[in-house]
Symmetry: C2
Subunit: 347 residues, 2 copies
């Protein structure tokens, strides 16, 4: 009933009448042990409900703990959840457990979390950097052999492995798709702050696609917002321009929600739309959404594999891995530009 002391190796040993080391041997299948001893030890373990103390073990063995430290900006975001799933799948066979925390996109919290992970001697550290965070403080740990991998965005002040989506080429492809359909004025609704790595890259992809087609870059067509409602408002603004776009590219899925909401409410089925990042409902919408899909599970997997390779002694220099995106053409990019003021039929 009361919170009794949990049984230890010594308790088991006493119960059986052998030494602690013998019990240890049986449990870890390290060194030989007679079948009878084995039998009796296992029985005692079951009887006492003994649970080995992994912390005590690790401290003695001296190596890193069998955990993977992962810092994400938001646990509720399925993108990061899926990344985490990819990591877990890749490290499970090595017996590693995921230690996961949220930085809430705050550099201070991120740093605190990282310190906690270091204090726990994680075997590898994976971080989705918060905007504004600096990672110089990780130099010593990395030099001491700790594999560090940045996910989704590169780290700052530390040369370490990094796994990101091919943001630039992905957007390039999506925008080129719109251009190929005849659009010459394409709006871009990005995330704020616009300096966020992913948004910078995506905007660069937008610009390179325009450049490739010899289209002018018109900054009045480029906006950004903090949330869904903001994106909706920016969409309205874009459509009210004297010379409005005939197509819109949404820089991430939160922006997409706002843009879609506004387009739908306004009944503007004539505006073509492509979005970065897939949405569960993308193919259920009317029209179905054309997206540049990321592969979060592959990002997690690549990160884990890189880190495991480091753990296994890979000492080559830090690399950046681009996980390709995939253009999924559905209906929303269908509308061709129609300069005439002809409203599409209702059905």
């Amino acid at each position: 009933m009361a919170a009794n002391r949990r049984p230890t190796l010594a308790d088991v040993a006493r119960e059986v009448g052998v030494s602690a080391k013998t019990v240890s041997r049986v449990l870890n299948e390290d060194g030989p042990s007679s079948p009878q001893t084995r039998e009796r030890v296992l029985a005692a373990v079951a009887k006492l409900g003994f649970q080995p103390n992994l912390m005590a073990r690790n401290i003695r063995v001296g190596g890193p703990d069998t955990t993977v430290g992962l810092v994400v900006p938001d646990l509720g975001n399925p993108f990061f959840g899926t990344v985490a799933g990819g990591i877990e799948d890749a490290v499970r066979s090595r017996g590693l457990t995921l230690l996961m925390g949220s930085s809430a996109e705050d550099p201070d919290q991120e740093r605190t979390l990282i310190q906690t992970f270091l204090a726990r001697r994680v075997s590898m550290l994976m971080v989705v950097p918060s905007f504004g965070a600096d990672h110089t403080h990780l130099k010593a740990s990395r030099a001491a052999g700790l594999p560090v991998v940045f996910l989704d965005r590169p780290g700052v002040g530390l040369s370490a492995d990094c796994v990101v989506s091919s943001n630039r080429t992905g957007v390039h492809e999506g925008v080129s798709h719109l251009i190929a359909r005849g659009h010459r004025r394409i709006g871009f609704v990005g995330d704020l702050p616009a300096k966020l790595y992913t948004q910078r890259e995506r905007l660069a992809g937008y610009r390179s696609a325009l450049a490739e087609a010899d289209l002018p870059y018109d900054r009045t067509l480029v906006t950004g917002a903090h949330d869904q409602d903001g994106a909706a408002a920016e969409t309205t603004a874009l459509l009210s321009l004297p010379n409005p776009p005939t197509a819109v590219f949404a820089g991430n899925n939160m922006m997409a929600l706002g843009v879609i909401a506004r387009l739908t409410r306004a009944g503007r089925k004539d505006i073509a739309l492509v979005t970065f990042d897939d949405l569960p409902l993308a193919d259920v919408l009317e029209p179905a959404l054309t997206v540049v899909a990321q592969d979060p599970a592959a990002i997690g997997e690549a990160a884990a594999r890189t880190a495991l390779a480091r753990l296994d002694g890979d000492r080559t220099r830090a690399r950046t891995i681009m996980v390709p995106t995939r253009l999924v053409v559905r209906g929303s990019s269908e509308p061709a530009p129609c300069p005439a003021e002809r409203a599409p039929a209702g059905s």
Copy 2:
């Protein structure tokens, strides 16, 4: 360059010329220390890049580790991610870190994960039970004082705290809403296996709403599927019935996707729809989706609070906490039944 041994307390002590205990005192702000010593210790810590070893500390202090073990069936599901976020927010102030793993809805993996957590001496254990899992094996740990909380679904074979959504009354409310709008034949598309706790409860809510309105329970109107495509197929089957439903209730959001897809493709805007669990795009759909929304963050928070209370000595008997759902009426439940074959106008 090489993976040198990390500095220990003793190394710092030697550097400064004091005892290890003094360094410990400074770092933990335990007991007094002269400002000069403090200063010099801190300097040495910084110089050597010392990181305290939390495992060694915990083993000595003897108490549980400052971690929370959380087992979920799927890391990529935003529902569980948001639950995890709720837990983290609630335990952060106590300095607890989240240890999180996925059971992939497999009882064996769930058990393995739980063993790992126990071996790590987590301070509390939170589990979303997999279908078919048994938790009798946790009795000893719970008796030894480990707070155990089941989330989303009750555990099996162990009396422990449990936090669930008010599935039954939530669905009751949603179905009653449809009935109030005049519907008398309402389809139910649930998740499989139908014996899953949440689906049992939700179906019970469906039946109680019918009973309350003196409507017959017609089992041909009740179906289930494993995935989105299955739900779409079941929707088609429902609508092809000789006496088809005029409204549909979807038992979770994956089912919802299938039902919506089919209804949209078939152009059946005359069928009313209510869904369990909110979707990010719910209010962007045309029509916007009426949902019975769960509150995953509140579930996580309630679980964490309960467990913390146990940690603080609460020895009252295990309780089940229902986190209320909320009916969010949007457009999709709008259509009233129209026995006549009159198709609604396009716009």
